[in-house]
Amino acid sequence: MSRVDTVLLPELDGPVPATLPGALGLLSLALGVGALVAPGPVARLTGVDDSPAARSVLSAIGLRELGSAAGLLSGRRPSGWAWSRVAGDAMDLTLLGRALADRSGERRHRVALTTLAIAGITAVDLLAAVRVGRARRARARVIRMEIAVTVNRSPAEAYRFWRDMENLPRFMAHLESVRADDLRRSHWIARGPAGRRVEWDAEIIDDQPNKSITWRSLPGSGVPNAGRVRFVPGPGDRGTEVRVELRYAPPAGALGRAVAKLFGEEPEQQVRDDLRRFKQVLETGEVVRSEGSPNGISVRQQAMQRPAQPLPASRR
């Protein structure tokens, strides 16, 4: 089975964005080499050349920086190494604070400037560490699934129905509407709990008539998502195997919790039910309803059945 993973969501696939950690690695390298090769000038520049321990402390800091540089430039575990830089910054700021306390005049001025510079670097390091960590967690949250249903219709009929993106809410329970802006682009609105709506734009990135459709959300979507549906002739003249691959990355925080609820406790079951509804609509003309499940197939409804008796007039 072909995989959607690597093709479809550039913002989530490929290596974790490494520009900032890389730059910080180079900075570490420069600082480390400077501190080791020319401890004297560095001590003078930073205003601590009067301390007998300055040279050995600077050498230790130089070694630490070389370690951080090696880690950051290797590209492995960027989150851990970015945090190691933040820890180093904290240590440097502590040392500088002490140095500032018992100095005066030109040296105090230089220590203060150094402290300011390190504080600036600390801010950049923190930003990098947080950003890298967030990207890693977003990747870890990505939900992938591959689900299929057999529909007693030809691949052409099944393709035609799905290709009209505005049909999707007829069988995807969590969608309120899909508006086709043109043949490629569409605007999706999903129903969330407590009237909350989640919206995004999507584009079809590959369209093989009667065979497959591949789409993905446009960059900037709060819920990056992508999918491919393939229409494979069923063996023995049994209609069409409709094979869906889906992935989406729910964001963290309140929106993420809303999206998680949207897809229910069992996101796979919900998509399975969507496909069952797709089959019902294609084979019987609409979603099949009973008195106990008046809205048709739904995971949530299965857990909260009403009695199997006609609905009161107020609920029709």
Binding site: T284, V288, S290, G292, P294, G296, Q305, A308, Q309, P310
Partner: protein, 390 residues
């Protein structure tokens, strides 16, 4: 409207509920004239079928007059007198197109629950738990009939309600039980259970050319019906050993085919065996009491067919797989694909080949449904089949 509702184990009530309305374009609304209590309703009554809710309307055997049709129903019109098959079937999925209506792939909106227990979901059934769709049943004044363009058939005036309502379930079910035996001239067919389905399976075995028909039960009044209406031989399992008797009757061969028309609440002549399975069933270690099925397998001639139309819901213990495998038996089973049989069986009634209403013992108004359940459950007053008149 008035409707018969399940209120918990051993409790049904006739309650007031809203009138049904069209929910899908292929629905019809039927004003019910006659409806029946099925032996399988007793499984619900006793609480053996999971996913029932207080207030569920019961009943899957009903007929009446069409009063309203959805925009996609073109074969029926208000005023038509129809009988409605108990499985709800869409007619367009590949199961329906192969005639396997009771495993329709679209008619169970709660297929997800059924799949967890059964692997795949069977069709929805009227008034038969939320596992099978959560559809309101037909022991009521009105019912909504989904896929009315596929299921219901019109009933000619000369066929009485009592005859026609047999086409909703018991006659086709009994007939399919016999048909699955693939009866050849000279064959001996044994049927466990002389309830409505067993008696109609026996009658159908006759129609399909069985040489001898043997009916097994413990109620003399039911065995008498088999003797008088079907010219069947009978065995009362509370009096004699069934396997010995069948071997004697068939000179040691065993019946060519055996039909289990009993299902999950079987009784047994052997008190110890009954107590064993009843206790496990009560503790929910086993969901069924499959004595009739076990016995049918042991009794069947080597290479013969075991046809199962009695209803099962879950799991059986002590399944005699050794006998089944080593003696080349075949098992055929299924909820009846009623839509396949309604027309041909209606024609058999019209031609006078059979009058399936011979099984009806009681007729009472809908409001007496609780009493109907009670006497059917207790087998009081020689009860075989209760019809409710609306």
């Amino acid at each position: 409207m008035k409707a018969t509702a399940w209120m918990g184990a051993d409790s049904v009530k006739v309650i007031d509920v809203p009138d049904p309305k069209i929910m899908n374009a292929r629905d019809a609304i039927v004003r019910i004239s006659t409806t029946a209590i099925c032996g399988s309703d007793l499984h619900l009554y006793h609480g053996y079928i999971p996913a029932m809710r207080k207030g569920d309307i019961l009943g899957h055997e009903f007929m009446g007059e069409v009063v309203e049709v959805g925009p996609q129903v073109r074969n029926l019109a208000p005023g038509d007198r129809v009988v409605v098959p108990f499985p709800i079937a869409c007619g367009h999925c590949s199961s329906c197109q192969r005639g396997l209506y009771s495993v329709c792939e679209n008619s169970n909106p709660n297929a997800g629950i059924a799949e967890k227990i059964m692997g795949h979901s069977p069709a929805g059934i009227f008034g038969y738990s939320h596992l099978l769709g959560g559809y309101a049943g037909g022991q009521a004044e009105y019912a909504r009939v989904p896929f009315a363009d596929v299921g219901p058939i019109k009933v000619p005036d000369e066929i009485s309600d009592d005859q026609a309502v047999m086409l909703a379930d018991v006659f086709p079910t009994g007939y399919m039980g016999a048909e699955m035996c693939d009866i050849k001239p000279g064959q001996v067919i044994a049927i466990w259970g002389a309830g409505p389905v067993g008696l109609l399976a026996a009658a159908s075995a006759r129609l399909l050319g069985a040489e001898r028909v043997i009916v097994i039960d413990r109620y003399p009044y039911r065995l008498r019906l088999a003797e008088e209406h079907i010219d069947a031989e009978t065995i009362n399992y509370s009096e004699v050993d069934v396997l010995d008797t069948l071997n004697e009757m068939t000179a040691g061969r065993g019946p060519d085919a055996c039909i289990d028309a009993v299902g999950l609440e079987s009784h047994h002549g052997n008190t110890a065996m009954y107590a064993y399975d009843r206790a496990k069933q009560a503790a929910r270690v086993e969901t069924e009491r499959p004595f009739a099925l076990r016995q049918a397998i042991l009794a069947c001639r080597s290479g013969g067919v075991v046809s199962v139309v009695g209803a099962y819901g879950g799991f059986v213990d002590k399944f005699p797989m050794g006998a089944f495998m080593n003696r080349s038996l075949v098992m055929r089973t299924g909820q009846c694909h009623v839509q396949r049989y309604t027309r041909p069986l209606l024609e058999r009634i019209q031609r006078g080949e059979i009058d399936p209403s011979f099984i009806v013992s009681h007729r009472m108004p809908l409001r007496d449904a609780p009493k109907g359940y009670k006497i059917f459950q207790k087998k009081q007053d020689d009860c075989t089949k209760v019809l409710l008149k609306v």
